[in-house]
Amino acid sequence: MSLHRTRATAHRVLRQLRHDPRTIALLLAVPCVLQVLVRALFADRPSVFQSLGVPLLGLFPFVAMFIVTSITMLRERTSGTLERLMTTPLARGDLLVGYALAFALVAAAQATLVSALSFGLLGLDSGHRAVSVIALAIANAILGMSLGLFASAFARTEFQAVQFMPAFVLPQILLCGLIVPRDEMAEWLRVISAVMPLTYAYDALARLASPDELTAQFWVDVAIVVGVTIVALLLGAVTLRRRTP
């Protein structure tokens, strides 16, 4: 791996995004609009907004980066640019880390904007943990990116790649504890949710949202999110082959 090539890759991915201002606008505006809707939905019950708002802050980047990465990577495979890169000295790690750096930056912008809106205008209580929420949002974005990268290896067309969002992401959102607390779920659902990475991402965010002191469980959650990200990136690296049939 080389720092120079990794940085060049991150720069290239950001330049591609810059030529697509509509995507940037959507990435930044959609989570803000959704957060405003959630706030309005629970106008009479601020405690519900308080318990939903913070986890949502951290989950938007996860979903957005999953989609953006799986499509970008699929394009890289189908346009032949990946094949060209595989004939150059670029290491697979350069490509993956380059992508991660670029999308982490986008996720940081996205999370900062939605946080500023939520904590500033919408009255969400950060409990002085706004920076931790943003940091966790970035970690979730990279988790989404690494899962998207891995998923893109199984998509032949952009239609399929888009369908991976509901297939990979929606079950995790349903079962992570956001909609129904995990200890109120049927046993088999709880077992499934226990093997889904988003469950731990949600749990960490929910702990940040509550006024209680952070326990060791918070750091276990964070470690699991980081661990799954690394495993997904390694699996993603395995799907990037120099030689193809």
Binding site: H4, S79, G80, T81, R84, L90
Partner: protein, 240 residues
């Protein structure tokens, strides 16, 4: 000069079908070798094997004395795929700057190769807005960035106007005169005469290889189209 590329007993299976059947081939260094054959004859598969991105079933491919695809070759072999493998959502300059960084070429090379393939004035255009021919030349420019010793070009002149084709072929010979080995595929026979050496591929086998003049003499014909037809007839056993 010796062989820059040596292929021995190369077999490739794609989709359960053998598409290259025990190919033996030597490509001389410092020459422009044309790889000709109808579409589906295995040209692209052979080129992919040479640049080391093709899974091969059997046999060996060596480039500059190393196994094809060896890490040390990645800075010395340039490859232009048939599809213009550049980023449609980046400008000409941005595409070349990225590939230059990846290949370890200097940024001043970007200006050089842009001029070389005649894309001056289009540096700030998005690749997506280029014409087919400009797209192909951008892809070629990216393959030239690190001044490779071996250049593998898959149908680089397809869809280009005659003047541009003539200029590109002149440029290929200029590179060869400087010591670069070029392997250029085409399915257009009238380009065969522009090559130093020819390899005719048909249904995954090398039908014949040699110089254009040699081929005409062997077959007793005056143009290469006729030479190839007579060779194909011979192989198929329908000859006169």
């Amino acid at each position: 000069m010796g062989a820059a590329i040596s292929v021995r007993g190369l077999r490739v299976v794609r989709g359960g079908r053998e598409v290259l059947h025990a190919i033996d081939l030597d490509i001389e260094s410092g020459r422009v070798t044309g790889l000709l054959g109808p579409s589906g004859s295995g040209k692209t598969t052979l080129m992919r094997a040479v640049v080391g991105v093709q899974v091969v079933a059997d046999g060996s491919v060596s480039v500059l004395g190393l196994d094809a695809g060896a890490p040390a070759l990645r800075e010395r072999v340039g490859y232009q795929t048939q599809a213009p493998s550049v980023y449609a959502d980046l400008t000409v300059d941005e595409n070349l700057q990225y590939f230059a960084s990846v290949l370890g070429a200097t940024l001043s090379r970007v200006t050089e190769v842009v001029g070389r393939v005649g894309l001056d004035g289009l540096e700030r255009q998005l690749a997506a807005s280029l014409s087919g021919g400009e797209h192909a030349r951008l892809s070629l420019a990216a393959a030239l960035l690190n001044q490779p010793s071996v250049l593998v070009l898959d149908e680089p002149t397809v869809g280009l106007d005659p003047m541009l084709r003539r200029d590109l072929w002149a440029f290929f010979h200029e590179l060869a005169a400087g010591g670069t080995t070029l392997l250029v595929s085409s399915h257009v026979m009238d380009e065969a005469d522009r090559c130093d050496d020819l390899v005719l591929l048909r249904e995954g086998r090398v039908l014949i290889s040699g110089t254009p003049e040699g081929l005409k003499q062997t077959t007793g014909t005056t143009d290469l189209d006729a030479a190839f037809l007579s060779l194909i007839d011979e192989v198929d056993g329908e000859g006169p």
